[in-house]
C-alpha cells in the first residue's frame, strides 16, 4: 500500500501538524513515511501545504505532482490541486470559503464542514483533527489506535491532556463527512 497525499490550506489551519500526526500514525503501524512541506517565502504568503506519503515499501520521491488524495482547505489550494488528483483518487474538502466547487467526475469527492464543526466543539484548534477524522472515514489507511499513539509521539508532554479532545474531534469528523460524488 502506498498513499500519496497533499494537504493544503491557510497557514494556521494546522495543515503541517495534521500531516505530522498522520505520518507518525504511519510509523506506529511500521510503515515508511515522508512529510515534505512547502517552506520559505511561499509559507509567508498565507498558504501552507504538505505532501505526506505512507507506504509499506521504501518511498521514492517525497516531492510529487500527482496525488492519491488531496485534502483541500481553501480556494487557492483547490485551484492549485484539483487537477492534480490521480484519476480514481480522492478529494476531500471543507466547503467553508470555497466558491468554485470541484466538478471532476473521474475522482471521489467528499465534503466535511470542518470549520463549522470546530466552532460547535468550541475549539477552533480541533479543526485539523476533524478533517483528519473525515479523511480516515473515507480512506481508513491508519487505525485510530495508531493515530492516538501518533498524537502521543508528536505532541509535547504538556499537551497530552488535549489528546481526548483530539480523538473526539476525529470521531466527529468521521461521523460528519458527506459524499459529493463517487465513481
Amino acid at each position: 500500500m502506498t498513499e500519496e497525499i497533499i494537504i493544503a490550506g491557510f497557514g494556521g489551519q494546522g495543515v503541517l501538524s495534521m500531516g505530522k500526526i498522520l505520518a507518525y500514525s504511519g510509523i506506529m503501524q511500521n510503515q515508511e513515511v515522508s512529510w515534505m512541506p512547502s517552506y520559505g517565502p511561499e509559507m509567508r504568503g498565507g498558504t501552507a501545504n504538505v505532501t505526506v506519503i505512507l507506504s509499506d515499501d521504501r518511498i521514492s520521491s517525497p516531492v510529487l505532482k500527482k496525488f492519491d488524495t488531496a485534502i483541500i482547505l481553501n480556494q487557492q489550494s483547490m485551484d492549485k490541486f484539483v487537477d492534480e488528483v490521480k484519476p480514481g483518487g480522492t478529494l476531500l474538502y471543507d466547503p467553508n470559503g470555497i466558491t468554485h466547487h470541484p466538478e471532476r467526475k473521474d475522482i471521489n469527492i467528499y465534503r466535511i464542514p470542518g470549520a463549522a464543526l470546530a466552532a460547535e466543539l468550541g475549539n477552533p484548534q480541533t479543526f485539523n483533527m476533524i478533517i483528519m477524522g473525515g479523511f480516515l472515514k473515507v480512506k481508513p489507511i491508519v487505525l485510530l489506535e495508531n493515530v492516538k499513539k501518533g498524537l502521543e509521539k508528536s505532541l509535547p508532554e504538556r499537551h497530552h491532556k488535549l489528546i481526548p479532545l483530539n480523538i473526539e474531534a476525529i470521531q466527529k469528523g468521521s461521523d460528519s463527512v458527506e459524499t459529493v460524488h463517487t465513481i
Binding site: Q31, S61, V63, L64
Partner: protein, 361 residues
C-alpha cells in the same frame, strides 16, 4: 528496532552529531539549515556529553574554529548553506592542506550570489572539484533520505579520520526540511583525552610532551620541492579513496536499457520517474552516486554494455553530467536534465525529458 522517530533532515544532523560523540559544532545562521544549530542549542549537549556548541560571528570564523578544534584531534563540524560555504572555502582548503579531519554540512540552496532559499544542487562543482584554491579533494557524501542524514554523520567522521581529510555532507533543502522515519544511532561516548592521544597523538596539537617532537598544524611549506612531495602524498590519498570508498546504489538496473544518474533529492525524484517510465514500458534504471568524491566512475562504465543512453538529472544547470560524460567517454549519448533556481523537478518532467532527450520522442 532502536530509537525510531519522525524528524527533519536538519534536526537529524544535529542529533546524529551528539550521538556519534562529536566534540564541537561551530556555525552561523543561514536558511535553509539553521535548524541544525537551533536543534543543538535546544538539546544542550554541553550538559549531556560535553559537546561544545558555539554560534560564531561569521562563517569564516566558524570554519576556522573547526580548524582549531580539528587540530586538537577532536571530532568537530560546521554546517551552512551555499553562500556560507563560499565564505568557508578558505578554511576548507586550509583543513585539506593541513590534513585535518572535519565535517562540513552544506544544505544547498539555489544561486549564484544570494540566490534563493529554495533547494538546489548547484554546488556540485564547488564540493567535488575544489571550491577553494589548490589541488585538494573533499570526501563528499550525498544523502538521499533522512535516514542517511543520520548515518552519514558518523560515516563522515570515520572517513575523515581514516584519511585525515575534511568530509562534506552535500544535501539540500528537500532532504533538510522534510521529515521521514529515522532510526537514530545509539549513543557513543566522546573520545577521552587518552583516546585522542592514542588515535591522533602523532599529529594533534594537544600539548608537547618530552617524549616527542612538537606537533604543528600547518599547510605552509616555502620549499617547493617539499611542497611537491606533499602534493604527491595528497594525490596518493585521493587515489586510495577512489580505490576503497566509492559508494553508490543501483535501482532497477538489472534489465535497464536506459539509465538515470542522480544523487540526493534528485535521485528520489528519479526513483519515482523509474516507476512511471516502466509503467509506460521504458526499461530505465537509476544509478545513485552516494559518494560524489570519490565518484562511481567504474560503476557507470560497467553499465555501458547494456544501456543505450543516460540522462543525468540534477537541480543545477548541468554539473555532475560532466563526470558522467567523463566516465562514459562518448560510448553512449549522455544528456542533462535539470531545474534550478530553487525549482524541484517533478517525476513527470523527468520522464518527459528522458523521452525527448534520450529516446528521441
Amino acid at each position: 528496532m532502536g530509537d525510531v522517530r519522525l524528524m527533519k533532515g536538519n534536526e537529524v544532523i544535529a542529533e546524529a552529531a551528539i550521538r556519534c560523540g562529536c566534540d564541537g559544532y561551530f556555525g552561523y545562521p543561514i536558511t535553509p539549515q539553521s535548524e541544525i544549530m537551533e536543534t543543538l542549542m535546544i538539546r544542550r549537549p554541553q550538559e549531556e556529553t560535553g559537546m561544545v556548541v558555539l554560534q560564531a560571528e561569521s562563517e569564516v570564523a566558524a570554519i576556522n574554529m573547526v580548524y582549531g578544534g580539528a587540530s586538537c584531534g577532536k571530532k568537530v563540524m560546521t554546517s551552512s548553506s551555499s553562500p556560507g560555504i563560499s565564505l568557508k572555502a578558505e578554511g576548507i582548503t586550509y583543513l585539506a592542506g593541513a590534513e585535518l579531519p572535519a565535517l562540513i554540512v552544506n544544505i544547498v540552496r539555489g544561486g549564484p550570489g544570494l540566490g534563493t532559499i529554495q533547494p538546489a544542487q548547484s554546488d556540485y562543482f564547488q564540493a567535488v572539484k575544489g571550491g577553494g584554491h589548490g589541488d585538494y579533494k573533499l570526501i563528499v557524501l550525498a544523502p538521499a533520505s533522512v535516514q542517511e542524514m543520520n548515518d552519514f554523520v558518523d560515516l563522515s567522521f570515520k572517513l575523515a579520520f581514516k584519511y585525515l581529510n575534511p568530509a562534506m555532507i552535500l544535501s539540500d533543502g528537500v532532504i533538510g526540511q522534510m521529515m521521514e522515519k529515522v532510526e537514530l544511532s545509539d549513543f557513543k561516548p566522546r573520545w577521552t583525552a587518552e583516546e585522542i592521544k592514542k588515535i591522533s597523538g602523532s599529529w594533534a596539537t594537544i600539548g608537547k610532551t618530552a617524549d616527542r617532537e612538537r606537533n604543528i598544524s600547518t599547510s605552509l611549506d616555502l620549499d617547493s620541492a617539499k611542497q611537491e612531495i606533499f602534493n604527491h602524498k595528497l594525490q596518493a590519498k585521493y587515489r586510495a579513496m577512489e580505490e576503497n570508498e566509492v559508494r553508490f546504489e543501483k535501482i532497477a538496473c538489472d534489465d535497464a536499457e536506459y539509465l538515470f544518474v542522480a544523487y540526493g533529492s534528485s535521485a528520489r525524484i528519479c526513483q519515482k520517474a523509474v516507476e512511471q517510465a516502466r509503467e509506460k514500458g521504458i526499461k530505465v534504471g537509476l544509478l545513485r552516486p552516494i559518494t560524489l568524491f570519490p565518484y562511481p566512475t567504474k560503476a557507470i562504465q560497467e553499465m555501458l554494455k547494456d544501456v543505450k543512453g543516460i540522462l543525468s538529472v540534477e537541480m543545477s544547470a548541468g554539473q555532475m553530467v560532466e563526470d558522467v560524460r567523463l566516465a562514459v567517454n562518448g560510448k553512449v549519448p549522455v544528456e542533462h536534465f535539470g531545474r534550478y533556481g530553487g525549482i524541484i523537478p517533478t517525476p513527470e518532467e523527468v520522464v518527459e525529458a528522458l523521452e525527448q532527450k534520450i529516446l528521441g520522442k
